[in-house]
Amino acid sequence: MSLEISQGTPVEISEERALTDSRRQMVLNMGPQHPSTHGVLRVILTMEGETIVGCDPVLGYLHRGVEKLGETHRYSQFVPWTDRTDYVAAPSNNLGYILAVERLCGIEAPERATYWRMIMGELARLASHLVWLGTHALDIGALSMSLYCFRERELILDIFETFCGARLTTNMMEMGGFSRPIPDNLPGMVRDFCNIFPEKQVEYESLLSANPIWLSRTRGVGVIEPDAAISMSLTGACLRGSGINYDVRKATPYLYYDRMDFEVPLGTRGDVYDRYLVRMEEMRQSISIIEQCLDQMPTDGPLSLTESPYVIPPHDSVMKTAEDMQRHFIWVIKGFSPPKGEVYQAIEHSKGELGYYVVSDGTPIPYRVRLRTPDFVNLQSLPYMAQGAALADVVALIGTIDIVLGSVDR
């Protein structure tokens, strides 16, 4: 450890030894501004030469008090903030919160809306994985990869933009479904994307999967044992890379994931390369899920519940009748009051299990909104993995955990 800590533990270590230790070791502060900490993560590394002997992540540089905001705003008002926690997969965050509140209220969106929610969730997963792949490869030095990934990500953002007008922070879901209509060209856009993307993914893999430098940088680096992965509460690809089969979509299905036919890819070694393979395979499964959704989906039908006190009154009737306008006014001004209780809704986010724990006290404002974000918990494995690794591995490890600091710090 550093000089101070060596002096602080004088029990076995003689003064001479402590001095040489502190001379041999170097404390390197990585971040909060560093090209490969994916935002404002700060990691304090203790190094012997280029080998890491101590690693202490320091969080909170993007702590914005989202949970406190949730306790002071009405249920439907909180949705925009969920976008801004994990901003690379905003629809997934919307989905988790909306599902939690719908569960609390005891309502369910119509079938067509549910299918569209799944499509948007999977597209968000793809967008998030593309950001992960690009930045992860960039950290390891594959410069062009990030540009290719962001090129395809723009297609997904186009779909979001067509649907709700925003690219990144979509705020697309509402209690009880969607309040916006689905544009006519949207299914075609999604289908086009599903046709284009697999070819592009082959391109990525041809650049990385068999590249000897990529293999040597990722094979055997950052190994997580299965027991340790469970004990550290890892979820997502970090857990599945170690061979534990836990995917919320399969284990405790939500939406219509029980109707879908898809595989949960599992790793065997638990190293960076396995997690890379798991995520690449997940992208293929996502495309398959989107195609199944498009095939199974009813082409016509309501997108939102109409006769529920928990749902915003439909837009077109608000324009026509006075009663609906009053209802709309009251709903917007007063909000709605779910029954007293507490729910924990977990969904499979692109990074792992995203849990929303919402406590209601019967007022229009949630009593407590808790975000169990996957990357906050997954980031705990960084000191575990970094022990004994090289400095260059640390950037690969941060990349493989796939963190978004807004989601880590909230």
Partner: protein, 204 residues
């Protein structure tokens, strides 16, 4: 808050109740194996079990929390081996005493079931740390300490997590903590015209 808890609200969608997914085990507390096992094993520490939207919550006494979670983790018929979440709720506005609830969300990977364990305690009471059972509780407890000021007994490294180390304005997720903090951040440009870097030239 369990005193006034309702079991189920008005279900608007006809047909199946969507929350009835079976991910939390049997809906009746008397039939739930975890509830039965905990009640048998820890008759003194077991408070009650509540079901809301088919989610099973076991409420236990604070001192026995770690033993109960250890039992839930290691008992071969239960095997809640995965800590989904650990957090706290400040119940200041809902009841007088005790003030906080610590909420532990458990999940069983082999049995694919969730369970929630809650324990109530007052400000200043040490809560047994889960870090010895699940390494993943480490940061979650640090966060709870940071946000609520809860002291976890047996935690190896209880420091501030998200707020700065020298933060001296208390614990923000407590209910008596205002949203914008006790002290307004200094906004020099609010009353006076804001200091901007002025360009000496105007755009044509």
């Amino acid at each position: 808050m369990a005193e006034e808890q309702q079991t189920g609200g008005p279900a608007d969608s006809p047909g199946r109740r969507i929350w009835a997914t079976g991910h939390w085990g049997p809906t009746e507390p008397e039939e739930h194996p975890a509830v039965i096992a905990v009640r048998e094993r820890f008759p003194d520490s077991f408070v009650d079990a509540v079901n809301f939207r088919d989610e099973m919550t076991i409420r236990v006494d604070r001192p026995a929390l770690r033993e109960i979670v250890l039992f839930l983790r290691d008992e071969s018929s239960l095997r809640y081996n995965f800590l989904s979440d650990l957090t706290a709720v400040d119940m200041l506005r809902l009841r007088d005493n005790p003030r906080f609830d610590v909420v532990v969300q458990l999940y069983s990977i082999p049995r694919r079931q969730r369970l929630r364990v809650k324990a109530a305690f007052n400000d200043g009471d040490p809560v047994p740390s889960m870090t010895l059972l699940y390494e993943g509780a480490n940061w979650l407890e640090r966060e709870a300490y940071d946000m609520f000021g809860i002291v976890f007994e047996g935690h190896p490294d209880l420091r501030r997590m998200l707020l700065p180390d020298d933060w001296d304005e208390g614990h923000p997720l407590r209910k008596d903590y205002p949203l914008r903090g006790y002290r307004e951040y200094v906004q020099p440009g609010f009353e006076n015209p804001a200091p901007r870097v002025r360009s000496r030239f105007r755009r044509p």
